[in-house]
């Protein structure tokens, strides 16, 4: 089979002391829709090894990350190549009313890390990313520059940005443009 190509294949990662920006390509991503109070929700949680978080704007981590993206919607991020996951989830809640959709290539992930990461994101993100407000374990669907993104705060200064694949080139260019200032120091 020919080589796969990620949306930011041509993106030159940024690696400075103050700031790191790089694509994390080919994650397995599933969109999960289910009534959080249903048995199916619990079964999906068991199959994932991570219960579906019900607090808005948070994510739970285990073998995979499960991000709350709506009151009955989650985005599951698993390592590349977890092709069997979708089937396992369907099996776990067979017959129940759930929506499980493979969206692996719908978005790509960009990791932004370093002491200037919040400064960089503040150029285009209206959310308050102060660690008191948006610390590790928090996630949000929001707008960064002129692209819709899913943003997740990792440990320390790291953020994971999930962006629609067609917007990735734009967002990459925007991040580089905005980062210029933060690499000078």
């Amino acid at each position: 089979m020919a080589e796969r190509l990620s949306p930011l294949a041509g993106f030159e990662p940024v690696s400075a002391e103050s700031l790191r920006i790089e694509e994390i390509p080919f994650l397995t991503q599933l969109d999960v829709r289910v009534d959080p109070k249903s048995r199916a929700a619990a079964e999906i949680g068991l199959a994932l090894g991570v219960p579906l978080p019900t607090e808005p704007g948070t994510y739970a981590s285990g073998d995979c990350d499960v991000l709350w993206t709506g009151p009955d919607e989650w985005l599951v991020l698993a390592p590349p190549g977890a092709e069997g996951l979708e089937g396992r989830l369907r099996e776990a809640c067979a017959g129940a009313h759930v929506g499980i959709t493979d969206v692996s290539a719908q978005r790509t992930a960009v990791l932004v890390d370093g002491p200037r990461s919040r400064d960089l994101l503040a150029h285009g993100c209206a959310l308050d990313l102060h660690p008191r407000v948006f610390g590790p374990g928090r996630c949000a669907q929001t707008v960064l520059a002129r692209a819709q993104v899913v943003l997740a705060a990792r440990e320390g200064d790291a953020f994971m940005i999930l962006v629609r694949s067609s917007f990735a080139g734009y967002l990459g260019a925007w991040l580089l443009d905005a980062a210029a200032e933060h690499l000078l120091d």
């Binding site: 020919a2 990620s6 829709r33 719908q106 503040a122 150029h123 520059a145 694949s165 200032e181």
Partner: protein, 933 residues
């Protein structure tokens, strides 16, 4: 010219050029300070009257000294009082209009979002006290100030705080804030807008060498403290526009902050005590104070006040006096001042006239926030009233004019703000300052005179009291009308200095109270902001996202020209060397009709619709029946808005009993998903359906043409591709070029065709495999448009415009008669939507087969055009040269078009209308014989 710099003032020398002459100034000067230091008094000549004009104020309230920056890059209309001097500055005085550069601005601009518990606007005594008090609680504090250095008026007045100079104290406060990890100080940052929900915007003029020249701060604050100070108020008197007429506080600022004396011998014209402090400082600095004309009549009290004033001892104070005239030197500047009062009228030689008509609190931001203003009869000024947002006002901005009072007010306000935001402020000492008791101020807006032709109320617009009186004399009663009639307050300063005075003059002229009359509305921006700063980083390719598919790199590398479709870049056509568009498109069309072609169709919207009620849901949204679709099959569908007009179209494939994949047009992908969610969530919450966008998860390659089956067979040996095994409008999962794929047998060209969908990561590999067979020609959107038009397939948004029903498109077959309802059905029964003469989609064949009709051309019934207005019968929606038909053709929406098939109509194109024949809209292969190859 001799230097007006005070002795002992030194610093780095900067060279600049003004109005063609070279000067030197000191680092830290504003252009205005440097000009005054060089003895330049008449800095501009007014545009209309040609009157020489000087520097009136010392900061953003300056109404007069406007300059055009010429070098390093042309910038129109800045205030000399706010331009920080730099080496190599070249500027000219502006009496009228500014000039834009004729070359692109090389500078960069950007924006930042910020959040805080307490935003303090203004780093004067009140603001610094508020910010330090609030920050002591651990609250997140932003202190924004429009000056390069903190301290507000302290460097102007030279007052002391806590026993040290005001500037030293201010530096100490900044150092304290620097030690607070949650505090941020933004110097050179003008908060210019106060919007809803405590959203304030500011512009930072960044230091030389910063990554951007100006930066917009978008600040969301839980609490706001406005410590924006007060502007000294001018007085309307004859000749009040002469160079050398200056606000008393401004002259004091030039003396104390910049070490520059604005004149040698001054007359002071005042309504209150403040001007005495200015006069005292100027006298101490060496300016001779010839006399003080004080409108107040209580001579005894004034003598008391003066007694403590060392440098002014012996100065003549003319109580109950006003300035009635200004004599001018040859350059137009002040040479003498005429004062009148109980002692009679006198002309006093002077080159400087210091004016102080009291103070106007800077209430602009408070008013923008929605807060009410009230007129304070003791202060003779508009002050903040009831707030409409989480905002408090501190210090001079609410009429507290003493330093001690401002410091106390600042600490109290900052503490309240932090506590209101949920923080506890530890006991915070109030900085100490000298307590002074001021005498009540007098009130004088306008010095009465026989004529008011040189009593100015707007210096840039050259509006006088006489003009205001003409306006009121014409019947105008509202300040807004007077503003519009006279243009007062519409210039660069937006009436910052003279606005309240203008209101007072209108009140005087119409016999009402100024408090009842009010002011014109305060609107953003507080100070002018450059377009470029507001545009920020959203310029050029970052103006709007460029959306691309996973195949984009290939298209670009193979010479495709691109079409903007919404935010997408889609390959338009792929010209070979030497080909123009027409040749390339005809070649691509021929390739598809005669061999095989491939197009990147990845931009089509794709929505995964799952759930037990998915079929029912789609039945309600599409005009046709989707629930009868068999698993493995595909159906074309149309959606209408509730008004019955076509909204979108696409195919729906049934993946399982409870799962469908719906495709949408490229431009409507998001709109259709939103549409589905809206109906599901707000109207039909009981339907068990989930919708998920998978548009970018898939790369889609359309493979079309009589040879497409053979191409697919070669790439997918495991797939039975014969027509019986893989019929039209079905789909199959298969490996294509070794890649897991979902292959659909659908056609938008009328040819045998497939759409191959793979994970977008594999899109390029698939495309290269397809094109790599050597028999497949890549084609773009233009060819796709031609091919579908030959088949009479409409493009939503091109052949429709939001006023077209499915029936208008000849698509009755796609509108279910069996369903009780679908969105839009009821509207089809309205009188207008069931008219027989509605516009129908038809084909057109120009009688000249080589004539390409312009898309958008109109159709009329007659070969000769009558005089306008001429009722058109319709218009051309699509028009192409067809390789397959060997001629041009068009699609058109024509009134009663289906009944006109065979008729001759005419298209006016400038000369005689050209004849065309109306045809059925399907012009190529109407029998559908080619669909199965």
């Amino acid at each position: 010219m001799t230097s007006r710099r005070r002795e002992g003032v030194a610093g780095e020398t900067l060279r600049f050029r003004y109005d063609g002459r070279d000067y030197e100034g000191l680092r830290g000067d504003t252009l205005a300070a440097a000009l005054l230091a060089n003895g330049v008094r008449a800095v501009v000549r007014s545009g209309g009257l040609g009157r020489p004009r000087g520097i009136y104020a010392s900061w953003t309230e300056e109404p007069n000294a406007l300059v055009q920056i010429e070098e390093p890059f042309p910038e129109p209309m800045l205030q000399a009082t706010t331009v920080e001097l730099y080496d190599g500055l070249v500027a000219t005085g502006l009496g009228g209009r500014g000039r834009l550069a004729d070359r692109p601005d090389p500078a960069r601009y950007d924006a930042v979002h910020a959040h805080c518990d307490v935003l303090v606007v203004g780093a004067g005594p009140a603001g610094l006290a508020a910010a330090t008090a609030a920050a002591a609680s651990g609250a997140r504090v932003i202190l924004a100030d429009d000056r390069p250095a903190a301290g507000g008026c302290l460097p102007d007045t030279g007052e002391t705080v806590d026993g040290v100079s005001g500037t030293t104290w201010a530096a100490g406060m900044l150092a304290e804030l620097a030690g607070r990890p949650e505090a941020r100080v933004l110097p050179r940052t003008t908060v210019f807008g106060y919007y809803d929900d405590n959203y304030l915007v500011a512009v930072e003029r960044r230091e030389e060498g910063a990554a951007s020249r100006e930066r917009i701060w978008r600040i969301r604050a839980r609490r706001v403290v406005l410590a924006t100070g007060a502007h000294e108020r001018p007085i309307a008197f004859a000749g009040n526009d002469r160079p050398g007429v200056m606000l008393a506080g401004a002259a004091r600022a030039y003396a104390n902050r910049y070490g520059v004396l604005a004149g040698r011998r001054a007359v002071v014209f005042t309504t209150g005590d403040g001007a005495y402090d200015a006069a005292r400082d100027l006298a101490a600095a060496g300016v001779e104070i010839a006399a003080v004309a004080d409108v107040r009549r209580d001579a005894h009290a004034l003598d008391e006040a003066l007694a403590v004033a060392g440098p002014l001892a012996g100065t003549e104070v003319l109580t109950g006096h006003v300035v009635t005239g200004v004599g001018s030197a040859p350059d137009g500047s002040v040479a003498s001042v005429t004062v009148s009062g109980p002692s009679g009228e006198r002309e006093i030689e002077a080159d400087l006239l210091l004016v102080s008509g009291g103070w106007n609190p800077v209430v602009h931001l408070f008013s923008q926030s929605g807060g009410a203003l009230r007129f304070d009869e003791e202060l003779h000024a508009f002050v903040p009233g009831e707030a409409a947002q989480a905002v408090e006002v501190a210090g001079a901005a609410r009429g507290v004019y003493t330093l001690a009072g401002c410091l106390e007010d600042g600490v109290a306000t900052g503490t309240r703000a932090a506590e209101a935001a949920g923080f506890r402020v530890p006991p915070h000492p109030v900085p100490a300052a000298e307590r002074v008791t001021a005498l009540p101020s007098g009130r004088l807006w306008l010095v009465p005179a026989d004529d008011y032709e040189t009593h100015f109320v707007d210096l840039q617009r050259e509006v006088t009291v006489a003009d205001v009186m003409r306006a009121t004399g014409a019947g105008l009663r509202s300040v807004e009308h007077v503003k519009r009639y006279t243009t007062a307050g519409t210039a660069h300063d937006q009436g910052k200095l003279f606005g309240v005075l203008t209101s007072a003059v209108v009140a005087h002229a119409t016999g009402v109270e100024i408090g009842d009359l009010g002011t014109t509305t305060f609107r953003a921006p507080y100070a002018p902001v450059s377009f470029a700063a507001l545009a920020g980083r959203d310029r050029g390719m970052l103006h709007d996202p460029v959306r691309v598919t996973s195949l984009h790199g290939w298209h670009a590398a193979h010479g495709a020209l691109f079409e903007n479709v919404g935010q997408w870049k889609r390959p338009w056509y792929y010209p070979r060397p030497g080909e123009d568009m027409e040749t390339a498109v005809l070649r691509e069309c021929r390739a598809v009709r005669e061999g095989a072609g491939a197009m990147d169709a990845s931009t089509l919207g794709k929505i995964d619709v799952q759930g037990p009620d998915a079929a029912e849901f789609l039945d309600r949204l599409y005009t046709n029946m989707m629930s009868t679709l068999k698993v493995g099959a595909i159906r074309y569908g149309v959606m209408c808005r509730a008004d019955g007009m076509v909204f979108d179209d696409g195919t729906v494939m049934r993946l399982a009993e409870d799962r469908f994949l719906a495709t949408t047009t490229t431009g409507n992908a998001a709109a259709v998903l939103d549409w589905m969610e809206e109906w599901l969530q707000t109207e039909w919450p009981s339907l068990r359906v989930y919708c998920t966008s998978v548009t970018e998860h898939w790369a889609t390659v359309a493979l079309a043409g009589p040879r497409s089956r053979e191409v697919l067979a070669g790439l997918a040996p495991g797939l039975a591709v014969d027509a019986a095994s893989f019929p039209f409008m079905t789909w199959r999962d298969a490996e294509v070029a070794g890649i897991p794929a979902r292959v659909c047998r659908i056609s938008f060209s009328g040819e045998l065709a497939y759409e191959i969908n793979v994970n977008a990561w594999d899109g390029l590999a698939l495309w290269e495999a397809v094109v790599g067979t050597g028999v497949v020609t890549p084609y773009g959107t233009e060819t796709m448009h031609v091919l579908r038009a030959e088949k009479g397939y409409p493009i939503i948004g091109q052949d429709t415009d939001g006023t077209v029903t499915p029936a208008d498109l000849g698509m009755d077959w796609v509108v279910s008669k069996k369903k009780a309802d679908f969105v839009g059905k009821r509207s089809h029964a309205r009188a207008d939507t069931s008219r027989p003469d509605r516009k129908h989609l038809v084909g057109l064949l120009p009688e000249d087969p080589g004539l390409l009709l312009p898309e958008g051309a109109h159709l009329v019934a007659t070969s000769r055009l009558p005089e306008p207005p001429v009722r058109a019968l319709g218009h051309v929606t699509s028009s192409y040269r067809s390789a397959a038909l060997g001629r041009t053709f068009a699609l058109a929406l024509v009134s009663g078009g289906r009944e006109r098939i065979g008729e001759r109509l005419y298209v006016p194109l400038g000369g005689d209308p050209v004849p065309v024949t109306v045809t059925h809209h399907v012009l190529y292969d109407p029998e559908g014989a080619r669909r199965d190859g």
